[in-house]
């Protein structure tokens, strides 16, 4: 009888031990990549599908660790024709969060619908911020956690803009990745994304544009309110004029001369000296921003368009960078 009791106790202990053994933690795996679809999917899986799960990344070409694959050619959770991996994942796990559903359309606009007009006004803002993150931290070196944090920010900004019924603003997506090391900045002059510059202008920062081209080139077309200062005219008076600006943006056609001026300004103590990215007045025009001059817009029209672009954090007819 005592023996039976002991066996029963042992079996009970074994059962308790077996039952209390934790489920293995769910692991999602993919190759490291650069597209918004991949990182939005990683965010959806680890934040909504299973917040207890973890994410493992393999370098491109290396074998994947054990786990549930996504956004790889062999996985079920991958882009299929006109459906993004994000959308496939949302449908597979039936995530019905309204912000996630909105994000499905946004990711579709960015990754699939890039030749057509965006159905969501937020797509351009989010894509620009995503590319800005890659520029800030190095295109191939943004840590996975940083991307997840970015989509956390996107989620909260989208929730807020929907609740307040106002458009999504670029500055609401501004963030830093605490655990990541920004790309080493060896260049003496910072290259500033035009979208970021517009955000700074929107925030009321004083941005001074310095057109370093010759007088005749300046007359034909320049950034509204730009000063015309070729490199040879750089003197103490000019430096005094520029010293209280939050940003001094030197530019020319493709920023060969612009960079030399920005470098000279930095050397002369103007720490906030930057150049445009994409480079020069060509980059400015490519972003759909206005210029004033005999071969460009009138002053009034240019200022009106500029004001719209600044308030919206970009221009309606701009052509954001596409693809990876």
């Amino acid at each position: 009888m005592f023996l039976i009791f002991r066996i029963f106790i042992v079996l009970l202990c074994l059962c308790i031990t077996a039952c209390s053994k934790p489920e293995p933690r769910q692991v999602f795996v993919t190759e490291y990549g650069l597209g918004p679809d991949k990182w939005a999917t990683a965010w959806l899986l680890t934040r909504h599908v299973n917040p207890e799960s973890s994410l493992l990344l393999a370098d491109q070409g290396e074998s994947l660790p054990a786990g549930i694959e996504f956004d790889t050619p062999e996985s079920d959770l991958r882009r299929i024709e006109n459906q993004t991996a994000f959308e496939v994942t949302q449908l597979s796990y039936a995530v019905e969060d309204p912000v996630v559903l909105n994000l499905v359309q946004i990711i579709h606009d960015i990754e699939v619908n890039f030749w057509g007009a965006n159905k969501t006004p937020e797509a351009q803002v989010i894509e620009t911020a995503f590319r800005g993150l890659q520029e800030s931290y190095g295109r191939d070196t943004v840590p996975g956690d940083c991307y997840l944090k970015f989509f956390d920010r996107v989620y909260s900004a989208l929730s807020q803009s929907t609740a307040e019924q106002r458009p999504l603003r670029r500055d609401s997506l501004a963030m830093t990745c605490d655990n990541s090391v920004p790309a080493p900045e060896k260049s003496p002059v910072q290259e500033m994304a035009i979208a970021d510059l517009l955000v700074q202008m929107q925030l009321g920062k004083r941005v001074v544009f310095v057109d370093v081209r010759e007088e005749q080139e300046f007359a034909e077309g320049h950034i509204p309110d730009a000063l015309n200062i070729p490199l040879r005219k750089l003197n103490d008076e000019v430096l005094r004029q520029l010293s209280d600006a939050d940003y001094v943006v030197s530019y020319c056609v493709k920023d060969f001369r612009g960079f030399e001026m920005a470098k000279a300004l930095k050397r002369a103590g103007i720490e906030q000296s930057v150049i445009l990215k994409p480079y020069g007045i060509k980059g400015w025009i490519a972003e759909g921003l206005p210029t004033v001059g005999t071969r460009a817009m009138s002053r009034e029209a240019a200022f009106q368009q500029m004001s719209t672009c600044v308030s919206e954090g970009g221009c309606p007819n701009s052509s954001p960078m596409r693809g990876i």
């Binding site: 081209r213 010759e214 490199l231 040879r232 920023d255 060969f256 480079y279």
Partner: protein
Amino acid sequence: MKKHLIKPSVLVVLAATVSIPLVTWWSSVGNPQAYFTDNFPPGQILYIFSKLAGLVAVGLLGLQCLLALAKRLGGTGVLLSWSAKAHKVLGVLTFSLIVLHASLFFAAVSVRTEAPAWGLLLPKFTHGFYSQQVSLGLIALCLLCLGVFAGWKVASGSKRWRIGHSLWIVVLPLSFVHALSIGTESRFLPMLILILGISVLLLLAGLVRLKEPLTRKIKLTFGA
């Protein structure tokens, strides 16, 4: 008496013509070593060496023309005269620098825009001031190629190519206008003095050169 390939007086002028652009470039660009070690925008290093080649070339081109003209003047002009061999050496050097200037600029723009800048190779006069001035430089380069070829033919004994070698009369002003209109450092004071100085001397030398046959003709006509 030992015959010099280049007279000391010419050597002084040559040294000034090379050193002024070098100093101007260095004061503008700074120590170029940083362009090799730091992360500068794509093509910037090609651009700064294109500038250097252009600055040195524009001075040498003017000097080459001035020295060639001075040889025929006699009197004080003899001070600046030099041998045909020196003329060829400086000519080849100047031509190489001009070709280098154009090639490096083409490469710099191609690297910056991530596509070959074929558009730079076609003259454009309706695309604004900058394109016009680049086109002037391009035309000057094409004419210079003809002029250099003609010079080589003349040196090989074909006298009828002399007229072709005279294309320098067109090439030089085009080059000076190109340099002074869009060349950033060409209007720095030392460079401006160099270019304007050479221009004035060339003008004077040209006038003296023209005066000789004219005086002779007048003497013949009026029997003076």
